[in-house]
């Protein structure tokens, strides 16, 4: 019999954890919800969600002491997945409502989605709905990554955000999507550190397949 995979879901008061929890359970995982940074290092697999404003999320991460715990966990080489603002906080800095420091695991900035398409026409923000994942410009392949089940495809996943990460290191980019012709960073992966701007827990069967892949890495 296959051993039941377990994940540790970080509750820092800034996410609706229930839907993330339900999606991982649907994929057969045991979910431990933790509120103490001390429990981060015991994780087999760490999941960091997040909704709302960047600064509010970082204030809670810092106040509860999760930043250091997440950095130490990442050094352990075990897998971690950030979702939405849980992806953005992994970067150095966000420009949402002023400049705010992130956890700083990945170099780069979180910036506003352009309000104009490349052809100059106005485009809507927030970017809400199903968009298609494409390989990044550097041509990075998805084999062996979080997106391995979708090699050679352009799966649609659910986004809802007004800001997006701009990784400084192009090699950290795993997938983009196109919005008004602009490339928006949709997912990153650097070794054991994985994160998605989209919501796998809300992306139907595609999202569940990505969650299963995370559990298998």
């Amino acid at each position: 019999m296959m051993k039941c995979k377990s994940i540790t879901l970080v509750d820092y008061g800034m996410a609706n954890l229930l839907n993330v929890k339900r999606a991982f359970e649907q994929c057969g995982a045991m979910v431990n919800v933790i509120e103490e940074p001390a429990h981060v290092l015991a994780a087999e697999r760490l999941v960091v969600p997040g909704v709302g404003a960047f600064q509010d999320c970082m204030d809670e991460v810092n106040r509860r002491g999760f930043g250091e715990a997440i950095r130490s966990y990442v050094d352990s080489q075990r897998p971690m997945l950030g979702i939405c603002v849980g992806m953005q906080i992994l970067f150095d800095v966000s420009e949402e409502f002023g400049e705010h420091k992130g956890v700083g695991i990945l170099p780069g900035r979180v910036q506003a989605i352009p309000r104009q398409a490349v052809d100059g026409k106005a485009q809507r923000v927030p970017h809400i709905g199903w968009n298609h994942l494409i390989e990044p410009e550097c041509g990075r392949e998805w084999a062996g990554t979080l997106l391995a089940p979708f090699r050679g495809q352009r799966p649609a996943v659910y986004f809802v955000h007004s800001f997006a990460a701009q990784p400084e290191n192009e090699g950290d980019r795993l997938a983009d999507c196109l919005y008004g012709g602009h490339r928006i960073c949709a997912a990153v992966q650097r070794q054991n550190v994985m994160a998605t701007q989209f919501h796998p827990e809300r992306s139907g069967e595609t999202g569940l397949a990505i969650i299963r892949q995370f559990l298998n890495l």
Partner: protein, 256 residues
């Protein structure tokens, strides 16, 4: 390949059942909300909207149970509205599994609620629903905002109101034409276009869908980012899949 337009089946819920009316009255039973939600998910719905149209606040908690049950089985975004009066109501719905909360009457009674809720939870999860009715005999096309399930006129101009709600932190506008609701003669395209040109946040068109061409028109002529429909799906005239394929055949980017 970019952002797909969305099809959103709408489930009006009262006393634990899905119902559908014509111009906001004459309700007809359409079935069990959890079964219907699963069916639309299987058919490829991009989102689901649940509107609690219960008049009695005693039954209000039913919607929380329904949302919990749906959210445990359906892994696409859920929007829930109806009777949201306080930031606390928003929190309860989000905790039950809603991804977005729709505010209608309370936005008119207390616009600050929209501001407070969006500052607290982010504008991405606050939808302002506007029920608008064409003003008869006006020189220029004009629409008035109604509240309380379409029973109460407010004197507010729908276009100005939509802009104001965007400024207050609405992340999306759910626009229903009361004249067209349940009439199956298509969206009020002039209204849809007026609102979608006036705001920068996504607009969901609602009210009047009777066939698949109406959905295409809502996007192509009305400028909507998403189209919401109830009757055509509830009573089996079309599946969500058929609607998506039809829209894709007419050059609209869809998630298939």
């Amino acid at each position: 390949m970019g952002l797909a337009k969305r099809i959103i089946p709408c489930l009006d819920v009262t006393a634990g059942r899905v119902v559908k009316g014509v111009q906001f009255v004459e309700l007809r039973d359409a079935g069990d909300p959890v079964e219907i939600a699963k069916r639309y998910d299987d058919q490829g719905a991009d989102e689901l909207t649940f509107l609690d149209i219960t008049a009695s606040s005693d039954e209000r908690d039913i919607i929380l149970h329904i949302i919990e049950e749906v959210a445990a089985q359906v892994f696409i975004p859920l929007t829930v509205g109806g009777g949201v009066r306080a930031v606390e109501d928003v929190r309860r719905l989000l905790n039950a599994g809603a991804d977005k909360v729709s505010i209608n009457t309370s936005a008119v009674v207390n616009p600050q609620l929209v501001r407070d809720a969006s500052e607290r939870y982010g504008n991405q999860c606050i939808v302002v629903a506007i029920d608008a009715k064409r003003v008869a005999g006006a020189a220029e096309p004009k629409w008035e905002v109604f509240t309380h399930g379409g029973r109460k006129a407010t004197g507010l101009d729908a276009v100005a109101w939509a802009k104001q709600m965007q400024d207050y932190g609405a992340g999306e506008i759910l626009l229903t034409s009361m004249d067209r609701d349940g009439a199956k003669i298509g969206f009020d395209l002039e209204l849809t276009r007026a609102i979608s040109d006036a705001v920068e946040v996504p607009v969901i068109a609602s009210g009047g869908v009777g066939n698949l061409q109406h959905l295409v028109d809502g996007v192509k002529i009305g400028g909507a980012d998403a189209v919401l429909a109830a009757s055509i799906f509830h009573f089996g005239e079309y599946t969500v899949r058929q609607a998506k394929e039809y829209m894709a055949q007419h050059g609209i980017e869809m998630r298939l």
